[in-house]
């Protein structure tokens, strides 16, 4: 399957915009992803291993939160998993 990495997180995924991997479920895919790129883990998961509330995961065009099996949903090679980040840019005031 293909996992799309959003711009703000690419620095923690070796600069990749998309990563191809073989997995049977969504959580399996995330495990492989964060094993290959350990720095991503803290951006995606809480200390207790739950997906952070501000991270949205989409399997194809569906929100994983609304899939009956959620992260245990089976995935196929043709599926795409998108990580949708919160971004706030728009105007110009430097915030730091």
């Amino acid at each position: 399957m293909t996992i799309y990495i959003p711009t703000p997180l690419r620095a923690f995924a070796g600069g990749h915009a998309a990563i191809e991997l073989n997995a049977t479920t969504i959580s399996g895919a995330l495990d492989i992803l964060t094993q290959e790129h350990p720095e991503l883990r803290k951006h995606l998961f809480t200390g207790e291993g739950k997906i952070r509330a501000f991270v949205n995961l989409y399997l194809n065009d569906e929100d994983v939160r609304y899939l009956p099996a959620k992260e245990a949903t089976a995935v196929a090679a043709t599926d795409t998993l998108s990580i949708i980040p919160s971004i706030a840019g728009g105007a110009s005031h430097p915030t730091t």
Binding site: P6, T7, P8, A17, H43, R52, A53, F54, N56, Y58, D61, E62, D63, Y66, S82, I84, P85, S86, I87, A88, G89, G90, A91, S92, H93, P94, T95, T96
Partner: protein
Amino acid sequence: MGTVTETDALPELTTDDLARYSRHLILPEVGMEGQRRLKAARVLCVGTGGLGSPLAFYLAAAGVGTLGLVDFDVVDASNLQRQIIHSTKDIGRKKLDSAEEKLIALNPALNVVKHETMLTSANALEILKDYDIVADGTDNFPTRYLVNDACVLLGKPNVYGSIFRFEGQASVFATETGPCYRCLYPEPPPPGLVPSCAEGGVLGILPGLVGIIQATEVIKLILGKGESLAGRLLLVDALNMRFRELKLRKNPECPVCGPNPTVTKLIDYQQFCGIVPETAQEKNVKNGIPQLTVKELKQRMDAGEEVFILDVREPFEYQIANIGGKLVPMNDVPQRLAEIDREREVIVQCKSGGRSQKIAEFLKQAGFPRVVNLAGGILAWSDQIDPKVPKY
């Protein structure tokens, strides 16, 4: 939505209007009635920056009768790469005045309402209530949540656009049946985890692309035509020029727009986003790192002290501007510790003080006894000490 729906109550078009909007009038989806709806419409643009510039421009051109603008900023040279409503001659001028001038030049019949303020929980409902549609072109999470909640509470559609580097998002939130921003993002990311455009950069054209998508959605809502982005999130990847869309659902447990809301009035959004006001004590020492101001640094340099500044920005930033520090980019610091003298005080510096704080904390952990952070970075140096040092 508060748009005038009774055709009889819509304003008549003048002879000038008929000439100006002739290309609209011959479109069956707009026509006389649609153009009169546009004339009657009142749209609020929150922010007249990257997104607000094309948004306000096109709404003015299309014949929207009243445009409210919220901004309290002044035009800076670094804005002009994308904020096309402002010109070089406007540098230093209030954005509201600059924007109003361009909009009126384009369409003298337009009614511009200027709100020279920061949108806050105290004034948002009062400002938003007079408009039919709100277009959110802000640049920070607290204002995003504030605009969303105010729109839900007032029942006004929130036409959303957001950008980062080469990536954009657009949707329409808070329609009668559709999801709101909090259905998608129940919680904001903790401060510092997501870089701002000022830190991360943004392709100048991208807000043009996304702002015009917002303008299109505003016009469609006014006309009541087409299929709006409500219930869909449009993702724009400008680098690969791919547009994708995702389904958005109304969250039955949404604290604002769900059936059992827990947020029934505006809250403290700075606090909600984890932004706490700094006390004087925290300003001087942050996470155990003393904060040096640019004025203090200048005084020490003027007194003849040989200071050691560690510049942790990227080489291309150093090329644009530097204050004579030793360049070791942030990510290289762990491998190049041997190049940093442990016996000396290390003044860590970056663009605005964020990255240097992280490296200062890292060096302290690595056993460097005297590490300080240059608060505000080279931008503060340019602002307060030497304006000849270019800002970027």
